[in-house]
Structure formats: C-alpha cells, structure tokens
C-alpha cells in the first residue's frame, strides 16, 4: 500500500468524523428541545398571550413573544435591506474593486460585524435616552437594524464581487448607466445571494436577546403600535428558564422549539425562493 493511499484514508476518516460530529450535535440539540418542549407545546402556547399572571404564568401562551419576535426580526431585516443593498452596490459598482475607500469601508463593516450584540443594545439604549424614546418596538427594530446592517452588506458584497466584469460591461455597452446596471442586471444576478443575506440577518436578529433587552422591553401584550414595548422569544426563554418552577421551565423548551421551527420555516422558504429566482442567472 502506498503512502498516499494511507494519507487519503486517514483524511477521509477525519472528514467523515467531523461531519458526523456536526450532524450529531445538531440532532442532539433538536432532540433535547423536542423531548422537553414537545409535552408542553400546546395549541394554546402559540395562539394565546400569557394568562393567569405575568409572562411566567402557567396559563396561556407565548403569542406575545412570537409576534414580537417576528415584528422585530422582520422590521429590522426589511429596514436593513433598504440600507444595505445600496451600500453593497455602491462599494462594487461605483467604486472600483481596489478602491481604498471601499476597502476601508469593508474593514469597518467587519469590525462592526464582530461587535457583541450587548454593545449594540447599550448603544441603542444610550441613543434612546438622548432622544427621549422609551423601550418600544421601534427602538428595538432600530437597534437590531444597526446590528444586521454590517452582516447584510458584507454578505451581499461578497456575492456582488463575483459578478463577471464582462456582464457589467455588456450592460454598459448597451448604453445603460451604472444605476440601471446595478438595478436591472447586478441585483438580478445576485438575487440568491441577497436572499441568503436576508436569511442570515433574519436568523441573527430573531435569535438575539442582548440587543433588545433594554431597547424593546418586554410585555405580555401584543404591541399595536411602534411606540409600544414588544416581547421576543429569546428573552421569553431566558425568563422562563430562570424561574424555579419546573412547569415554567418546560415551557421555555416549548418556546425554544417554536423559535427553532420559525428559523426552519424561513430557511426552507428561502431555499424555495432561491431555486425560483436563480433560473435567469448566467
């Protein structure tokens, strides 16, 4: 047997083992959430707001947190998209790839990406105090938007960079402006990448507790305006888990299950959307 074969064999085993490890930990997480959460997951859990006391109560459900989370994550993702897409296009289309300004911007975004979310929370809180805004859905959305913008921009930036120069030149050679080229050609070409960016941001903002802790507050009601506080799932899980009452703790796992399901649904939807939108890609 030659040495190359042995080497290859070892690497194959290693790669298989690490893949298995990843899959196993995923299934272990899902299993433990299911085992503890499924028994307490009831129709009432997902259709009612908390009853019989505060949100830690045994009755009612976590609809407040589900709706609050969807509002917060949805709002910040949409707002983030409108800010991020132009920036990502600007970095690539209006600035040449080797532009120092563009690279400096990328560096700043990477630093922002790495800042822990509690810092965004603290920053958002400081701004709120400054402008006299109370803990509310609006403040939560703003803070989360700040947090997801760097993620979105860099995710889009990476895919826009891969657009062939020849494609952009083809559009220019037909007399299109940079704006038309960005909007009609580049955006279409990178649509799957944009969807991925949206998905990552949505996942990040729906799962974040630290940045909304001070900014959106917590309530057992469903907010009816942007100025009202909003609950969210990660904080609900945190509060439920920190009680000494076992039934309430089990409800935390049911909430985690709901959060995981939401993320699963979003992933599947974005897969489907990506398939649908890639048909024109060249």
């Amino acid at each position: 047997m030659n040495i190359n074969k042995v080497e290859e064999g070892i690497f194959k085993v290693l790669m298989k083992a690490s893949t298995l490890l990843v899959l196993a930990s995923l299934f272990l997480i899902i299993y433990s959430i299911l085992r503890k959460g499924l028994p307490s997951l009831s129709w009432a859990m997902v259709t009612q707001t908390p009853k019989g006391g505060f949100f830690l109560g045994k009755g009612g459900g976590i609809l407040n947190a589900i709706v609050g989370s969807l509002y917060l994550a949805g709002g910040s993702t949409i707002l983030g998209l409108f800010i991020s897409l132009p920036v990502a296009l600007y970095l690539n289309i209006y600035r040449t790839k080797t532009s120092r300004f563009a690279n400096f911007t990328r560096l700043c975004l990477d630093v922002l990406w790495g800042i822990p979310s509690i810092v965004y929370g603290a920053f958002g809180f400081a701004i709120m105090l400054l402008v006299g805004l109370k803990a509310s859905l609006l403040a939560g959305i703003f803070t989360l938007t700040l947090m997801v913008i760097p993620i979105m921009i860099r995710a889009m930036d990476e895919v826009i960079m891969t657009v062939p120069k020849g494609l952009i030149d083809a559009s220019y050679s037909l007399g299109a402006t940079r704006f038309e080229t960005s909007l009609k050609v580049v955006s279409k070409q990178v649509l799957p990448g944009i969807l991925t960016a949206i998905l990552i941001s949505f996942g990040r903002s729906i799962g974040d507790a630290a940045s909304v802790l001070f900014t959106s507050g917590f309530t057992d009601r469903i907010p009816t305006s942007l100025m009202q506080p909003a609950a969210n799932l990660p904080l609900a899980i945190f509060f439920q888990l920190s009680t000494p009452i076992p039934e309430v703790q089990d409800r935390a796992y049911a909430s985690a299950l709901v959060l995981t399901l939401i993320i699963l649904i979003i992933s599947i939807l974005s897969r489907i959307a990506t398939k649908k939108f890639t048909k024109h890609k060249v």
Partner: protein
Amino acid sequence: MKKATEIFIPLMTDVCAEGNICVEGLNVHYGDRHALKDINITLPAKKITAIIGPSGCGKTTLLKCFNRLIDSIDGTKVTGKVMLNGEDIFDPHADVINIRKKMGLLSQRPYPLPMSIFDNVAYGPRIHGTRKKSELNQIVEYYLKEASLWDEVKDRLYTPASGLSIGQQQRLCLARGLAVKPEIILGDEPTSALDPISSAHIEEKFVEFKNKYTIVMVTHILRQAIRIADYIIFMYLGEIIEHGPAEQVLEHPKDKRTSDYIKGIIS
C-alpha cells in the same frame, strides 16, 4: 471604381470623414504599463477592419477605448483623441451613454443578461425610452431575425437566455446590440468561444452587415481575417506595426514582425 487603398484615408488629414473612426496620438497606461503607444489610425466607415496581433499586444484595450469601457478600469490613463463624426470620444464633455449607444459590442464569450431572451433584446430599447409592449414586440422580432436567431427561439422568448447554447447566446448578444441601433459593431474575438458552425454564423452576419455598419473585429484567427476583412491592422507590443488592405498586409507584409506573425513565428 475606387481602389481599396484610396479609401484608407491618409493619417495626416485633419478632417475625419463622417463615419470613420480616427484615432490620433492615443496612449493608454495601466498604472505604469504602457499598453497603447501613440496609436494613429483611421478605421473606415462601413467596412470590416480586423485587428490582429499576439495576445497582450493591446487589441482589447484599443476596442475598449472606442466605447469608453476603459473608463471603468482602475488606474488607467488615456491621452490622445478618438474622433467620430466630428466629436472626440474622450472629450470630458462627451456623452458616454450616447457614444456607447452608437457601438454594439460582442465580447470574447457571450454574456447574456440574467433575464429572458425577450428582455435581453428589449433591454437597450427599454432603457432608452421605448415602453410600449407592441413596439417592443416588433423590435425584438426584427432584431432576432437580423441575427438569424428568431426561428430557433420564437417559441421560448420568455425563457431564460442562459438556457441557450453558447453559439445562440452570441447571436442573442448580437441582436441585443443591434437593437440600440448602433453605427459601429465592435467584436473582441467574438467567435473564439464558439464551435465552427456558430462561428460561421457570426462571420456570415458580419459580411452581410458590412454595408450597414462599420465593423471592427479583433481576431486571432488569420484565416478569419482573410475571409472577411477589408482592412487589417497588425499590432505588436502596444504599437501598430502595419495596416492596410487585407491582401496587402497578409500577402505582402512590409514589416518583418508582420510576416513573422503571419508565418506563425510570433504568436
């Protein structure tokens, strides 16, 4: 009847006849690489001019000057003039969009836009203001026929252009370019990625178009140049070494570098 040599306007005239592309003292630097060195040449209207030369000699760069795609490359410095219909293409006040509208481009490999076949051809007319669906239908049909693609795609106009074969894609790019009503067609080795039959299609189109459009084509296939070109420009290391009517350059080259290239010594 005029002899071919007479149509090739002498370099020193200060008037550039309508339709001709007159390059005067053109220099292009990419950073500190001197890619085009003092180019002076007139490309005649409604003829096929082939640019030949070894790779890296500046052929693509020269084409990119004509439609000012050179603008979008970082760190380039361009000096000199390219006159077309009395205007300098590099005039800082020149309308780049208008210049590009006058020139269709076929690149080395086709780049269909990420949209349907119909939308590819309608792309140019739409951005230049044609909105009416009935009008667009006519335009798309007309130019797809011009590019001899209509029969192959008329039943799937609304399917993605990326589904076409590479040869069909190149003809789609031709139709798309023609739809903005250019005067000039620039081809940068437009057949190099194509199979022989698709290449022949494009060549036939060029010959057919020659009375309607001024065609400038870079090619690395000498036989292609012999088949279709009226004039040939031979470039070497950023300079024009020789130019003139096709037979003259190919059969009786004056410069040793030209004859070496033709014999296949330089490639």
